[in-house]
Each structure stands twice: as C-alpha cells, then as structure tokens.
C-alpha cells in the first residue's frame, strides 16, 4: 500500500480558537478510514484541510506527492479527490442523467469545447448509465432531481462524486439523514461503487459507531483538535479511554459491546 494523502504537523486556528493542533496523518491508497470524535473535536476542520478547502495555519498537506494546501475544489477534483457533504447537495432542476453527466463530462475534459456533444455522446452516456446502475438509479435517469426522495437524492449526491472516478473520496457523514435501516445498504453500495469506480481510499466522518466498526480499516479519533488515537477498529473498541473520549461515558459500554459483537 502506498501513501496517497498525508498531513504533517497541521495546525489550524480561527482567531484565538485552535481547531487543530499538530495533527499528523498518513492515509494509504486502499484504506477505509473513519474520523471520529465528539462535536467540536475538529473533524470538519480536518476534512476541510485534507481537501484543500482551507489552508492550514502551519504544517503541510500532500495528495499523491503534491501540496494541496488551499487549492480549492476544482483543482482537487482534477487531481483525483472527491468530497461529499453531510447535507444533501444536488442540482434540483437537472435530471438524474444530467447530474451524473456533469461529473462525467468534467472528468473527460469535455467542458472545454462549447460545441462538444452531450446527449448524443456515447462516451458520456455509457459512463452515466454505468454509474446510475451501480447506485440503483437506472430507472430514474429522466427524473428531475428535485422530485426524488430524500434517500435517492443522497444516493445521487454520492453517485455524482463517484462519477469523477477519484482515487480518494472524503465523505462527511454519508449516511446522515437516512433511516437507520437503510444505512447498511448505503454503506454496502459505497464499498461496491468504490470497487467498480476504482476509488481506492475512502475517508469518512461518522457518528454511527456500528457503521464505523463494520467498515473501517482504521479509526482516527480526535479530541479538542488533537489526534488521540489512530488504530484498527479492533484496538479502538477494546480501549475504554477511546470510547469514553469519543462517545462519552454513558454510551461507551454499549458501544464497546456493539463493537465487540460486530468485530467477532
């Protein structure tokens, strides 16, 4: 496994508030990493720094060997990293086909020519069909996104990010706003889609500890802007200190047993 994303001694301050303190992290090109921690631990700040959206106050961030500090979303996408957000983020008046085609045509570099074909392009259509089929959206291609159910919008949101065929994807709570019964379906889909689309690295911020336990190769725990733990799920769920720091004393027993059951 090669390292694809690395942060070295990253600190980020907003005025006098220190959101990240000396965070170092190396993520491999075939890893599924979960970032966990209580509210205000700095998870979102870390993801923002790791995706080049905000520039660290000190320290460096590299993606496949190049510095990405503050490069912004467009160049990030071109470099092979995608990101999805906690809240559903879609194009309400575009159809499902068009929404996926935005990503496909941008990856294929088709949006440089104002007279390139879109609807008649086999190259775009094939890829859109394939991504839609992976996410179970084939029957909805002509539907306007605004008319989809909340769950379908979430799927489309993630599908369009996967359509970029990124090498790494960062997801802020991919299952938020989804009924807990459907969370596993979404996660299964994500893992399958990653395999189909050649996405090697998945990094997620997640609160649902059973999901974290089941899918992660590695868990990075944050508290008050510091990395307090970087370990396998196995080690994480056996460590009462970790559980107490991340989810609080009241629930840690419960999570520990949940983790143990899942890991067995």
């Amino acid at each position: 496994m090669n390292m694809i994303l690395s942060a070295q001694n990253v600190s980020k301050a907003y005025g006098s508030y220190q959101a990240l303190r000396d965070v170092s992290l190396n993520i491999g090109d075939t890893e599924f990493v979960s970032i966990v921690g209580p509210n205000g631990a700095g998870k979102t700040t870390l993801v923002n720094v790791l995706t080049g959206l905000s520039r660290p106050t000190s320290g460096s961030v590299h993606f496949s060997g190049r510095s990405i500090a503050g490069i912004g979303p467009v160049r990030l996408a071109a470099m092979g990293m995608a990101r999805s957000f906690q809240l559903v983020n879609v194009f309400p008046s575009l159809s499902v086909w068009e929404s996926i085609a935005v990503a496909v045509s941008s990856r294929q570099g088709k949006a440089r020519n104002p007279f390139a074909t879109l609807f008649k392009s086999r190259q775009i259509d094939d890829e859109v069909q394939r991504v839609a089929a992976t996410f179970g959206l084939s029957q909805k291609l002509t539907t306007t996104t605004g008319e989809l159910s909340q769950g379908e919008k979430k799927l489309l949101d993630i599908a369009s990010a996967f359509a970029l065929r990124p090498r790494a994807i960062l997801m802020d709570e991919p299952t938020s706003g989804v009924a807990s019964a459907d969370k596993y379906d979404i996660m299964e889909l994500l893992v399958k889609a990653a395999r189909l689309q050649g996405v090697g690295t998945i990094i997620q911020v997640e609160h649902d500890m059973t999901l974290v336990a089941r899918y992660s190769h590695r868990i990075v725990a944050l508290q008050e802007g510091r990395v307090i733990g970087d370990m396998t799920p196995d080690a994480f769920f056996k460590d009462p200190l970790m559980l107490e720091a991340v989810i609080g004393p009241a629930h840690s027993k419960q999570a520990q047993s949940a983790g143990e059951t899942l890991l067995c």
Binding site: E98, A111, N113, A116, T117, L118, A132
Partner: protein, 338 residues
C-alpha cells in the same frame, strides 16, 4: 489499481436524457418574422425590426440568467455600446455592416470581459447591483462627454452597406427589406449557435452552476471561468443587437444605456420565460407589440407594462413558455429542459 469492472452493468432502455423541448415556439417566431415583410406593410415590418435586435440581446441574457443564474441589471450598456460602435464606425467611413458587427462584437466582448472579471465574482443581488452601477456609469459618460458622444443628442448612425452593396432606396424600404432579412439571418445563426452550446457539456455545466455552484465546484466545474464566458457571450450578443437598433433608428442614443432599458430586457426575459430556450424571443415580440400598441393608445403605456409584469410574476413565475412546458407532460421541468 484497475478502475474498470470486468462486466458492465446492463443499461436500461428507459434511460434517455430529457428530450429537447421548447424550440418550437422560436421556430414559429422566426418563420413568422421571415414572412412578415410579405404579409405586412413595410411600416409594420419596420416596427418588428426591434424584435430581432432585442431577440439577439435576450438570447445572450438568457444564457447569463436563465442558464447560469446571474441577473444583470445593467445589460442595456451593451445595447448602447453596439449602437455607438455603429455610429462611430459609419461616421469614420466604415460602412460595411459586416465590419460594424465585427467591431461591435469585439468591443462588446472586450468590455464584457473587463466588467465581467469584476462582477462575476459576486452573485445574486451583489452581481445585479454592480452591473447596474457600471451600466449607469456608461450612461453618464455617454450623456456628459458631449464632444465625444454627442451628449443627449446622441450620434447619428449612417446607413451601412450590406455584403458590399449600397442600397438606393427609402429608409423604410431599406429597413423592411434587405436590412431586415440580413438581421434575421444573423439572428437565426446565433439561435443555432447558442442552441448548440446549451446542448453541450458547457451548457450543462452552466446549469449546474445555476442550480448549486458549490456542488458544481466539487465536480470539477470551472465556475468563475464559465460565468465569465457566459457574461462575455451575453455582452457580445447585446452589442450586436445594439448595432442593429442603432442602424434601424439611425441614432445611437444615451437612453439605450439607461437602466430602464435594462429593465425592458429583463421584462422580455421574464415574460417569455427565462431558462426556456424560446421564451426570451417570444418575450421580445410581445414586448415590442405591447409597447407599440399601448404607446399609440395611451401615454400611460409604461403603467400597462408594469401591470403586465406584476400579474405575470404572480401568476406565471416561470414565464409564458416555462409555464406551458410544465403542463406538457410528466417528468418535464422547464429548468431541466432548455
């Protein structure tokens, strides 16, 4: 790491992109404009001339507002730029209308590039107010710099040559005959060009920016570059329309840059339906007819226009064609199909 799976998922038969809709009304309008000189009096045809000029201008504004989501309140500045280009050119011996159109497009696009570089960083009301302010700056310039621009008198636009031919006929004959058809052909060409563009990945990316610029960025859409491109194109089309207006009235008038003129353009856009491909052209026709009929009946014609717009926004927020296409069938949304 290999990216592609061995077997591709089967594609489904139902999966076709949304079909093109809504070019029908524009085709009817163009055919109507083409036969008007045959059916109508020369005088009536001349009154239709602005439909073509405004039609071209709102074609550009539709790309900027209807497809990219940026409403410019100062777009009349480009009408004025086109008209003054025609005036300066014809007064300096450049009488070929081909050259006039080239000069107007070039100057319009260059100014749009500068103004756009400043303005498209902002969206919504900030963009609108900035364009309004710059439009008013131009108006003051045209109005006050008497020596250069003729001030409130404006500048005369001489009759141009078309395809190297001089036309020895009355103004009405010229404007309802060769000049009318020349402009109509230019209009048709730009309808085809912009239609092709809207149906390209670039057009899709513009609509993605309109819908959700943040999401678009994360999918690799060059938001700033495309917004600027849309602004430059709309400025260029505005100048071409302005050059035509200048020739048809024989005058480049500072009032062309006044903000009420920008309001008229927005009126046409909203009336016909921004974001539908045909809407703005139809809006231009209705606006010109309303203005002509109402202005000949009453001096309060602006009141009538205002009332029409109020009713329209309340009752048909998607414009005439946007509302029509909504009722055409299930799954068809005016935003989703140009």
């Amino acid at each position: 790491m290999s990216a592609l799976p061995e077997t591709l998922p089967a594609s489904t038969p139902a999966a076709r992109p949304l079909l093109l809709g809504g070019v029908g009304p524009l085709v009817i309008l163009l055919v109507g404009l083409a036969v008007s000189p045959v059916l109508l009096s020369a005088y009536a045809t001349v009154t239709l001339m602005p439909v073509i000029a405004y039609g071209i201008a709102v074609l550009g504004m539709n790309i900027l507002f209807g497809y990219t989501g940026m409403l410019s309140f100062g777009h009349a500045m480009f009408l004025a730029i086109g008209a003054y280009c025609a005036a300066v050119a014809t007064q300096h011996g450049i009488l070929s209308f081909e050259w006039i159109l080239l000069v107007a497009s070039g100057v319009g696009a260059s100014i749009a590039l500068i103004v756009g570089a400043l303005c498209v960083r902002f969206t919504h009301i900030f963009f609108g107010v900035l364009t309004l302010a710059i439009g008013m700056l131009l108006h003051s310039f045209l109005f006050k710099f008497y020596d250069l621009t003729g001030g409130d008198q404006g500048m005369r636009v001489l009759r141009p040559t078309l395809l190297g031919q001089t036309w020895d006929m009355s103004a009405t004959q010229f404007l309802s005959g060769p000049f009318y058809y020349y402009c109509l052909v230019v209009y048709v060409v730009f309808v085809l060009v912009t239609y092709r563009m809207i149906k390209s990945p670039v057009g899709l990316h513009l609509q993605a920016i309109r819908d959700n610029e943040n999401k678009a960025r994360y999918l690799g859409v060059h938001v700033y570059r495309l917004r600027l491109g849309a602004f430059v194109l709309s400025g260029m089309l505005g100048s071409i329309g302005g050059a035509m207006l200048g020739v048809s009235t024989g005058l480049a008038d500072p009032e062309l840059a006044y903000w009420t003129q920008s309001g008229n353009l927005i009126f046409m856009l909203v009336l016909g339906g921004a974001g539908t491909f045909s809407g703005p052209g139809v809006g231009a026709l209705i606006f010109v007819l309303l203005q002509d009929i109402a202005a000949s009946e009453t001096q309060y014609w602006r009141f009538l226009l205002g009332a029409t717009l109020t009713v329209l926004v309340l009752a048909l927020p998607d414009g005439l064609l946007g509302t029509l296409s909504k009722y055409r069938g299930p799954g068809k949304n005016p935003g989703a199909q140009p």
